[in-house]
């Protein structure tokens, strides 16, 4: 937790919390008789959030109290990303007869979202005006929380009208890591990743966690799985300094992914026969490919918006990776010049020999589709996988979740979706279309996460 120790009236920079209103502290006029210039004889209303230190996938209840009845107020949320960008959301309400506003009960009549959405201020966060272009909110440092400053403003205003209308504020923390979760950097047998272990004696069921071509090490989903009782291993395979070869290519092949799975199996606090694999985007292909090996027996697979085959060839043994196919011919552009990679993964465009032979599958497979996915042909690949499994009498292993209006980046809930963001495609960054409309994408994240945890529960614990 971040707490300030400071002199009254000063702002302590080491706290790392942006509390802009403290720069505008109302200093007392030393008027004879000690009358305050604010001339109000009532304290400011109260804004509360509960729980005040929650996990990212916990709902929070936000309420305003001691307000006049039936009056317009704005609740606004601000959060700083690990890169220092400011994200904000706001919603307009009219207080109740009893002078309260309750985001679990009351509809927003304007702002970042409309209607009754208890978590709307979280998934509705957008880069603040003046922010850099093409941002996407992703937590790099999972050992610290997001610090959310929520404010209650007078009237139906926008956040830029703080501090002049600010009535009350509350700070809440949002964590990916529960207390007691352990984060362990793994650099073993050439495998590069981060392992998260839940608190407790173990052994634990586990997940191997795979992301897309953006590369690096994405830890937050694993951290959250560990906070929910599963050991989870985020694996890097491209774009990481500790991996061999140039960072813009995949320089590892099947042996690498098998090593990673075996590393997890061999870990003293992991149940070797209760390991699942989750993949997003290109991670889906890697998930299916890994599960296809006869000596790798995962308990379940979760595939989110990714292809069943590839346009690039992975290393099998000692061969160098083939140069990435020039799949730019499949790229399309919208009228703003944003690029969509969707067509790259159309089954017809995937190299036939890369398509994973699913007839060897022995464990349940859940495929999650964002129907507005503009980065991958998720619907078509889901169909392909379903058809393949049906053809070999394994359709009972297949579950599909399909979400209208949801885009490519279906992630843990209550985090904002970026329909477009600047994404690294060497040699330059491109404004990349992911798809997804704010509210339906948020609903998809919430529902799919719940179902992912239930699926893991069924297949890894029972």
């Amino acid at each position: 937790m971040l707490h300030c120790t400071e002199e009254p009236g000063m702002y302590s920079a080491h706290c790392g919390i942006i509390i802009m209103n403290f720069c505008h502290l109302q200093h007392k006029a030393q008027v004879p008789g000690g009358v305050h210039w604010t001339s109000s004889c009532r304290p400011a209303p109260l804004l509360t959030a509960s729980p005040v230190c929650a996990l990212i996938d916990d709902k929070i209840s936000i309420r305003g109290h001691f307000l006049p009845p039936r009056c317009p107020v704005t609740v606004c949320a601000q959060m700083q990303s690990d890169d220092g960008d400011l994200w904000e959301a706001f919603a307009h309400f009219n207080t109740n007869l009893d002078g309260t506003v309750n985001l679990t009960r009351d509809p927003s009549v304007g702002g970042s979202y409309l209607g009754c959405e208890p978590m709307g201020l979280l998934w509705g966060l957008q880069p603040a005006p003046g922010a850099r272009e093409g941002l996407r909110l992703r937590k790099k440092k999972v050992e610290t929380p997001y610090v959310m400053l929520m404010s209650l403003l007078k009237g139906h205003v926008s956040p830029s009208e703080r501090p002049s209308t600010e009535l009350a504020a509350v700070t809440a923390e949002r964590w990916y890591m529960a207390p007691g979760v352990r984060r362990i950097e793994i650099r073993q047998k050439g495998v590069v990743g981060t392992l998260f272990l839940p608190p407790g004696p173990g052994p634990f069921p586990a997940m191997l966690d795979l992301w897309g071509m953006g590369g690096g090490l994405v830890e937050y989903r694993s951290a959250l799985f560990a906070s929910r009782g599963y050991a989870s291993f985020s694996l890097a395979y491209i774009g990481h300094k500790d991996l061999p070869g140039p960072q813009n290519r995949i320089n590892v092949g099947d042996p690498y992914f098998k090593s990673a799975f075996q590393l997890l199996q061999d870990h003293p606090q992991v149940y070797p026969d209760r390991i699942g694999i989750i993949g997003l985007s290109f991670g889906v292909y890697l998930t299916l490919r890994l599960a296809n090996h006869s000596d790798i027996k995962p308990s379940c697979l979760i595939c989110i918006n990714g292809p069943a085959g590839s346009t690039i060839k992975l290393r099998d043994a000692d061969d160098r990776t083939e140069q990435m196919e020039n799949d730019q011919k499949y790229w399309t552009y919208d009228d703003q010049g944003n690029v969509s990679f969707r067509a790259v993964s159309l089954p017809a465009n995937l190299s036939p020999e890369s398509k994973v032979k699913l007839e060897h599958l022995t464990c349940p497979l859940m495929y999650i589709v964002g129907e507005d996915d503009l980065s991958a042909s998720s619907i078509e690949n889901a169909n392909l996988i379903e058809e393949t499994l049906s053809a070999t009498g394994k359709s009972q292993l297949f579950t599909r979740l399909s979400y209208p209006g949801a885009g490519h980046l279906i992630e843990p809930p209550y985090t904002p979706n970026s329909r477009v963001s600047l994404w690294s495609v060497k040699p330059q960054k491109l404004a990349t279309l992911w798809g997804g409309h704010l509210a339906p994408h948020a609903a998809a994240q919430e529902d799919s996460w719940k179902k992912i945890l239930e699926f893991m529960e069924t297949n890894l614990r029972h």
């Binding site: 502290l25 004889c41 009532r42 729980p51 929650a54 504020a169 608190p199 407790g200």
Partner: protein, 434 residues
């Protein structure tokens, strides 16, 4: 019946919370009829370990929910959602007379909650541990600011809530033990009240006890703070601090309190002369203290019988602000109940009893603290008198009744404070998340 670790799922929601927030402890994927022990372990700042445990048997739904299912035995029994906290007690082999108090409020209280197979009573470290989680309990909410105060000769810490304010203010006083005890003020600030924990007993350079002007200085610091509303300041005191609160509320010209809360204290004190006189008065009556069969000191008779001489009691008939009295009827340290009854009588006679609210709890003892604080019936106590003395003080109270009293009194204290400090509100608007 053997339970596989991979099945058993233990969760505590929320895993991080304020000390007065309730949590839900859930154990899932059990086999029906499975016997388990849920165990809580906390290592406090001075290195002592505290534990609580309860026995459960999974029913047909294969779930144990501590908020809904009864404990069949342990440090608490029956359905007790928060029993794992308030029934914490020193582990076997600990020294006697311990009391659990958090002095550093900037770190959380960490509690490890575990599930063991079978109905265990002891030797937990050697048992089969099925699952374990860590829970953090905080006195300070995120965004609450801790501000050491150095003005005047004050030994104090101010806790400011998150936000622009202005906030109502509060002076928070403890009792004979002295030291700067911050946790209650930190928690009050987490509920929107700018609170100053004030140490008024630890001997200073002067070698003399403080007097009224000390409290008036503290009040002024609150009143003049840019984020505190000077017209909405309350005072809250426990034990001797309650007596000081009453004294200031009635006699001090410099203090204009919106309301006062007195927990387990008394109005009995010599009102003429400085605060030091109270010490002299108690010393004169010290032979009235007695020891019980366990050699624990009972001090309540020091002030009994309640005097009729008006110079020996704060004239609460002159009180002009609402007063909340919290009474542990089994208080063995102060004659709280008798004092409360006498105060009520004085106020009825004076015509200001509409200002008085009394919360009286049967079988609750002296140390009525924020909810879920582990109960201590007696503990080692070192007073700040000159010379100081250490003894085993009997506080009184019975585990379950006292724990219920802490929960109920805190909720009602917050309502009382908000009613009087935020003001002009209909009862329906008052918020309680406890």
């Amino acid at each position: 019946m053997d339970m596989k670790q991979h099945c058993v799922k233990l969760s505590v929601q929320p895993s991080r919370g304020l000390v007065d927030e309730k949590f839900t402890v859930l154990v899932q994927n059990l086999l029906p009829g499975f016997q388990l022990t849920i165990h809580a372990l906390h290592q406090c700042e001075d290195g002592h370990s505290w534990e609580a445990f309860a026995h459960y048997t999974a029913n047909a739904t294969s779930i144990v929910n501590v908020s809904q299912d009864p404990s069949l035995g342990g440090t608490y029994s029956g359905v007790e959602p928060m029993g794992l906290l308030w029934s914490l007690r020193p582990v076997p082999g600990s020294k006697t007379g311990l009391r659990l108090r958090k002095m550093n409020v900037q770190t959380p209280m960490g509690v490890t909650i575990s599930v063991y197979q079978g109905h265990q009573k002891e030797g937990f470290l050697d048992q089969v541990l099925l699952a374990s989680v860590v829970v953090e309990r905080w006195y300070m909410a995120p965004g609450v600011r801790r501000v050491p105060i150095t003005e005047g000769r004050l030994t104090a810490t101010l806790f400011l809530p998150s936000g622009p304010g202005p906030f109502p203010g509060l002076l928070d006083l403890w009792g004979w033990g002295g030291k700067l005890v911050e946790y209650r003020a930190a928690l009050l600030a987490s509920h929107g009240i700018a609170s100053m924990a004030l140490d008024y007993l630890t001997p200073k350079e002067t070698g003399r006890m403080v007097d009224n002007d000390y409290f008036e200085t503290a009040y002024r610091v609150l009143e003049q703070h840019p984020q505190i509303l000077g017209s909405r300041i309350a005072m809250l005191g426990l034990s001797f601090g309650a007596g000081v609160t009453l004294r200031m509320a009635v006699y001090s010209k410099g203090l204009k309190l919106s309301c006062a809360v007195c927990i387990n204290g008394s109005h009995v004190q010599p009102i003429d002369g400085p605060l030091e006189q109270i010490m002299t008065y108690f010393n004169k009556n010290v032979e009235k203290t007695r020891f019980d069969e366990d050699n624990q000191l009972i001090c309540r008779d020091l002030m009994l019988p309640i005097p009729t001489d008006p110079s020996l009691k704060v004239d609460v008939g002159r009180l002009q602000c609402p007063l909340l009295l919290v009474v542990g009827e089994d208080d063995q340290n102060w004659p709280t109940y008798e004092s409360a009854m006498d105060m009520r009588e004085m106020m009825e006679r004076a015509g200001n009893s509409h200002l008085l609210t009394v919360l009286s709890y049967k079988n609750a003892g002296h140390l009525i603290q924020p909810p879920f604080t582990p109960f201590t019936r007696a503990s080692t106590f070192k007073s700040v008198t000159i010379p100081p003395f250490t003894m085993m003080a009997l506080w009184g109270g019975e585990l379950v009744a006292h724990s219920r009293a802490q929960e109920d009194a805190w909720r009602k204290t917050l309502v009382f404070l908000r009613e009087n400090l935020y003001g002009d509100m209909k009862p329906g608007a008052l918020f309680s998340n406890l």
